[in-house]
């Protein structure tokens, strides 16, 4: 009897597994027929009717409610055509290359340029007729370039830039010295010098720490390549040659990049050992709030986290929640990165300054090659990148739009970021796959540079600009080896 029971169970399992296999192959067969005949020529302008478009959006845009507003507005507008946009409800880290051909995946996706362009290599996203979009003239060339790919000698644009991410300086106004207007504003422009140039920032950091050894000025972990590499770019370094498309030319040591390394090393000497690992990156929110740090750099999307942390601190000091919120907003300042001394030395008192450059990214929309309604998707992209929606996105999420008119209208930091992008001060992350190899060698070099500051005098490796240049060249070699050795 017992054996029969076991046998029955086994049989049931078998039937269950075979049916599971069966349904899998069915859905595959069904999707095959649907993906026939797609191509960029499909943007005929004739809208597919009665279709549902799956849109993969950014998590913050969903949680802050912007995405709901966007699809509500779109669905209202296209109600009579029967076009409906819905949340694709999929993971941000989906794999369109592997899932798309089998009918799984969104029709429209919003991602960072390096993610989107990874899909362009395998033609998993469609080339778009971007010249027809009303945002075309409003977005700077460099942002479009981040979405361009070359196939058989022809250039295609596979995405529409929406917002720009770049490092910003965060500092606390209420931690400025009381007499800053007379002592720390040499050019009398009403902006503290330490937020305008790194030399003054360094000077102030040293002064603040020597006054009270538990307090620091500017603090940031050096091990983060994303933030640290900007210092190299400012003095002539770059990531890859030929507009970030030629991985055989790695330029972190190019020009006078070693001056950037020197500046970083000087800044690190005014911090503490926490700058060697990611300690400062993780505790910057609370330490800026409790006044241990005066300034740090981070991306604009974490502004609300800094703000919330500062509010909490004010509340704990006895302020009411409303007062704390108002005071935090007043005192927490997010601004463009300070300028750098052309000499590459923060202590020589030189006044010749150059603009800081930084690594950045641009997020945008792309359309999957496997969509059944390319024209409706394009219509959605047009709608979502329009002036009104871009402005609303920037206002709701505090992000910096890639559209000039929207950036102008929103003003403030958004405008600053737009201008930095337009001036070429934001180096957009390369869109080629080789970029994944820059992080570990870069991180190792910057950790070594930070660690060197705290090594005993006799063990120091980076004592001159030449040794820093050699270190950077080593790092480029490592990246090159990582890319080419196994090719």
């Amino acid at each position: 009897m017992r054996k029969k029971l076991v046998a029955a169970c086994l049989l049931a399992c078998m039937v269950f597994t075979t049916t599971a296999c069966g349904s899998g192959s069915d859905s595959k067969a069904a999707s095959k027929s649907g993906s026939d005949g797609t191509g960029s020529a499909l943007f005929t302008g004739e809208l597919e009717e009665n279709v549902t478009i799956q849109v993969l959006e950014n998590d913050t845009a969903i949680s802050e409610g912007y995405f709901q507003e966007l699809i509500d507005a779109f669905n209202e507008e296209y109600k009579d055509k029967g076009i409906q946009a819905v949340d694709a409800n999929m993971d941000q880290y989906l794999d369109l290359a592997n899932d798309g051909p089998y009918g799984y995946g969104p029709d429209v996706l919003y991602q960072a340029n390096d993610v989107i362009m990874k899909y362009a290599e395998g033609k998993h996203i469609l080339p778009l007729p971007v010249e027809d979009l009303d945002c075309y003239d409003q977005i700077p060339e460099s942002a479009w370039q981040a979405y361009q790919t070359e196939v058989d000698g022809k250039t295609y644009t596979c995405g529409v830039p929406v917002n720009v991410q770049a490092p910003m300086l965060y500092y606390r106004k209420d931690l400025l010295p009381d007499d800053w207007e007379s002592t720390w504003d040499k050019d009398s422009d009403g902006v503290p010098d330490m937020t305008e140039n790194w030399s003054s920032m360094y000077e102030y950091s040293v002064a603040r720490h020597s006054e009270d050894s538990s307090k620091y000025g500017y603090m940031k972990s050096l091990n983060d390549m994303y933030f640290a590499s900007g210092f190299l770019f400012s003095y002539g370094g770059y990531i890859f040659g030929d507009n970030n498309t030629d991985a055989s030319d790695i330029g972190f040591a190019a020009g006078e990049a070693e001056k950037g390394a020197n500046v970083l090393s000087q800044l690190a000497s005014a911090m503490n050992e926490d700058c060697i690992d990611d300690t400062i990156t993780t505790n910057a929110y609370s330490k800026l709030a409790d006044g241990t740090y005066f300034a740090t750099i981070s991306t604009p999307d974490v502004y609300s986290t800094f703000l919330a942390e500062l509010e909490k601190e004010y509340v704990s000091e006895g302020l009411s929640e409303d007062d704390a919120a108002a005071k935090a907003k007043e005192n927490l300042v997010m601004t463009s990165l300070p300028q750098l001394p052309e000499s590459g030395d923060l202590t020589d008192g030189s006044t010749e300054m150059i603009d800081s450059k930084s690594m950045g990214g641009v997020n945008g929309y792309a359309i999957s090659s496997y969509t059944k309604a390319p024209n409706a998707c394009l219509e959605f992209v047009k709608f979502a990148t329009s002036y009104e929606m871009t402005k609303l996105r920037a206002e709701t999420l505090g992000v910096a739009p890639a559209r000039e008119d929207a950036a102008e209208e929103v003003g403030g930091v958004s405008k600053e970021i737009y201008q930095n992008l337009d001036n070429g001060n934001i180096i957009l992350m390369p869109s080629i796959t080789e970029v994944s190899q820059i992080w570990t060698p870069g991180q190792t070099f910057f950790i070594d540079l930070a660690k060197d500051v705290y090594r005993p005098e006799s063990e120091k490796k980076y004592t001159s600009l030449e040794s820093m240049k050699a270190g950077l060249e080593d790092m480029c070699n490592q990246i090159n080896e990582a890319i080419t050795t196994l090719q």
Partner: protein, 439 residues
């Protein structure tokens, strides 16, 4: 060999026409000798095999060799071939073919057996009899069938797939929709020829072996020690004390590792204590910290693994023959002599397979240094750091680059090393050689 030939000659001489017809039409011998049900099943197997071959089997096998000929182009609407899927379906087709060959052979053999039974006047088992025997005499076959099929699909297929990947150029820029090709031993040649490779491989392998031996020994003795301690009669509230290591065991490993990484970081509690007592912060896990990082790795691994060994040992220790200890005591053996001469041989006998499992697990312990000290490339190492194990190096080389083929080749080498070590150790161990010592 000769006997086989004789068997075939005998078969050809004696087999009746319907049995010989079974070569062409499966189950015909069974029909002739009255086992209709079985005959019908064999016939159905043949028909479904032919249908499978026509519908996709043949193209799957051809695809296994070509790995695709049509390049997919989503822009042009060309669906194209997916080499990886083709290889997978090709392997599956081979498995089906081998299974069919086995059944085909069974069909002829069992038809011949039937003929002999009939000739000898023995009763012919009906399908019902056969099915009944599956629930009785051949019950093991029925019970094992599902696991065997499961193992084939979920274990054997991926392993064969992984091994075969090592002989292709899959990876780098060659991922679908690009077509993958067979490249023979090129990947292995690459590993041998690259000059940068050998020194790093040597350094990492020697540290990897040292790590595996040290961590296994440390975990094992610490686990047994803890079990013996908590087994002592004088310990009160054993369950309470045992709960602590189990708690450490219950927390997912990577969370423990991240917690330890924070503990030893510059801003972590240990450095905070050092600084508050007037010292300077120590970089326990940073760039220059070769041995301190390695030792922390060993101890953290101990923290994670000891509880499982302790639980295992607690079980085994309760099976000890107490009379042996009594006799040893009477003969004047001390505590240490008892431990080394009685407890250890018993434990080693009982746990050698587990110990080997631990050794292999530690040899391939990816998480420890990935979470404690990832993201560093050291001077003198090619794309690796001085705490990386082979498995971490494999990850740096293959996953960051998407070089699946190279990754598969290195995995095969790691597999050869670990399987050679485990085989030698196991064959030499008392668990294998003196199987009946403790029975």
């Amino acid at each position: 060999m000769k006997s086989n030939r004789e068997k075939i000659r005998e078969f050809l001489g004696n087999a009746s026409a319907p049995v010989k017809l079974s070569f062409l039409i499966m189950g015909s011998g069974h029909f002739r000798y009255g086992a209709r049900g079985k005959g019908l099943i064999y016939l159905l197997i043949e028909i479904s095999m032919i249908v499978y071959l026509i519908r996709r089997g043949i193209s799957d096998i051809i695809g296994f060799f070509t790995l695709g000929t049509v390049h997919a182009d989503a822009w042009a609407g060309v669906e194209g071939d997916n080499s990886v899927v083709m290889m997978l379906m090709g392997i599956f087709a081979w498995i089906v073919v081998f299974a069919f060959v086995f059944l085909y052979q069974q069909n002829v053999r069992s038809a011949y057996d039937l003929q002999k039974r009939v000739e000898q006047g023995l009763p012919v088992p009906t399908l019902k009899d056969d099915l009944a025997s599956l629930l009785d005499r051949k019950f093991y076959m029925l019970v094992l069938a599902l696991p065997v099929i499961g193992v084939c699909i979920f274990n054997v297929l991926p392993i064969i797939f992984m091994i075969l990947i090592a002989f292709t150029n899959y990876g780098g820029t060659i991922v679908p929709p690009e077509l993958v090709d067979w490249v023979g031993f090129d990947n292995f040649k690459k590993l041998v020829v690259l000059t940068k490779f050998a020194p790093t491989f040597g350094k990492i392998l020697s540290w990897n072996l040292l790590w595996a031996v040290l961590s296994t020994t440390l975990n094992y003795f610490a686990g047994i020690g803890l079990a013996l301690l908590l087994n002592k009669e004088c310990v009160r509230g054993k369950a309470f004390w045992r709960a602590f290591p189990v708690l450490a065991y219950a927390i997912p490993g990577f969370i423990t590792l991240l917690a330890f990484k924070f503990m030893f970081s510059y801003g972590g509690p240990i450095n905070q204590m050092i600084i508050s007592h007037g010292g300077t912060a120590i970089g326990f896990l940073d760039l220059d910290a070769k041995w301190s990082a390695r030792i922390i790795g060993l101890l953290v691994n101990c923290w994670i693994s000891v509880p499982s060994i302790m639980l295992l040992a607690t079980g085994h220790l309760s099976n000890r023959d107490k009379s042996l200890y009594e006799a040893a005591r009477i003969d004047g053996a001390g505590k240490f002599a008892q431990f080394w001469k009685l407890t250890m041989p018993f434990m080693i006998f009982a746990t050698t397979p587990v110990l080997l499992g631990q050794f292999i697990g530690n040899f391939n312990n990816f998480g420890i240094f990935y979470f404690l000290r990832g993201g560093l490339y050291m001077d003198g190492y090619f794309l690796a750091s001085d705490t990386d194990l082979l498995i971490n190096w494999l990850y740096n080389l293959s996953i960051d680059n998407n070089y699946y083929c190279i990754g598969a080749a290195i995995s095969l080498i790691i597999f050869l090393i670990t399987s050679a070590i485990s085989l030698v150790v196991y064959v030499k161990s008392p668990s294998y050689r003196e199987e009946d010592t403790f029975q």
